[in-house]
């Protein structure tokens, strides 16, 4: 199969993932950069695998949104580990916030303002790294905080924990695959999309 055809299939596949995220917007053509032919094919296969891993469970919402691509575009030779560093910061931060939330919701008199504050922080940072489903779960959580529904909050906390766990696993897999590509002498292709 020609490389150009594989590239087109990859671009279309990538677009389909993000179209489920923002279905009302049209996608323009994406572009992809590669190295030599063998590296290109192996890299494309790995990328396809990664993208398949990112399409999980709920086909209506991807794990990640365009903000993650923005992060990848910020990474360059002077800061080659930027995405890993930011994502690691997010998961350290989210772990602390989730622990605080667990404690806060376990109190006999729940301080919903405090709970909302934690969720607001988690919503902000998840949005910044493109962890869309975590962010959406936080939106639901805040709605329950607003009406002071303790059971709703507890359910949402479990949902947020689950989404964080899921996206963490997927991103760890993505980063491991990237490391394998680099270790094999390949370069990480940037997938650019217009939303």
């Amino acid at each position: 199969m020609e490389v150009v055809q594989i590239q087109r299939r990859l671009v279309d596949f990538t677009k389909s993932l993000f179209m489920e995220v923002i279905p009302s917007k049209k996608n323009k053509t994406g572009t992809l950069r590669h190295t030599n032919l063998l590296t290109k094919i192996s890299v494309l296969c790995l990328i396809c695998l990664v993208l398949l891993l990112l399409v999980v469970v709920d086909r209506e919402k991807g794990l990640l949104d365009s903000q993650f691509l923005q992060l990848q575009q910020l990474q360059d030779e002077s800061n080659p580990d930027f995405v890993v560093e930011v994502v690691s910061l997010f998961f350290d931060d989210s772990e602390k916030l989730l622990n605080e939330l667990t404690i806060a919701l376990d109190q006999p008199n729940v301080d919903f303002k405090k709970v909302d504050g934690y969720v607001h922080q988690l919503k902000g940072s998840s949005s910044s790294i493109g962890a869309q489903r975590v962010k959406n779960a936080c939106v639901d959580f805040r709605n329950f905080c607003e009406v002071q529904n303790i059971e709703g909050c507890r359910t949402c906390l479990q949902q947020v924990k689950q989404e964080c766990y899921l996206v963490k696993n997927k991103l760890e897999t993505l980063f491991r695959l990237e490391q394998q590509i680099v270790a094999s002498g390949g370069s990480i292709p940037m997938i650019e999309m217009d939303f």
Partner: protein, 117 residues
């Protein structure tokens, strides 16, 4: 051009710092509004301030108001997750030159910078 990032969230500070770095803008990051005021009191000045709204100790509204009272005429752009008009009106009225909803992207940052130029 120089910039000050004011945000209590480490993830956001890191991303905003990198965004500015990639545009060749020298920048410093602080964790709340009081630190933003203190750094100006120490004599430092910035062309651009990216100000988060919800922060402990001193929030973005209070910090913006205080900086304007101090005579700081830098471009202050509010950057927050809030989107409702009534939520951000007080922030804007405190003295913002611009407001962008998070997450901050390259294109949003460029639109802020164009207003400076």
């Amino acid at each position: 051009m120089t910039a000050l990032v004011v945000d209590d969230n480490m993830v956001n500070r890191t991303i905003h710092h990198q965004l500015l770095d990639n545009l060749g803008i020298e920048n410093v990051a602080v964790g709340n509004g009081k630190e933003a005021v203190d750094i100006h009191c120490s004599g430092k000045a910035f062309d651009l301030i990216l100000m988060d709204m919800d922060m402990p100790i001193m929030n973005g509204i209070e910090a913006t108001r205080k900086l304007r009272e101090m005579g700081i005429r830098s471009m202050i752009a509010g950057v927050s997750t809030r989107s409702m008009e009534q939520e951000i009106r007080e922030f804007i009225e405190a003295g913002l030159d611009d407001y962008q909803e998070k997450p901050l992207t390259v294109s949003k940052l460029i639109s802020i910078i164009r207003k400076i130029n």
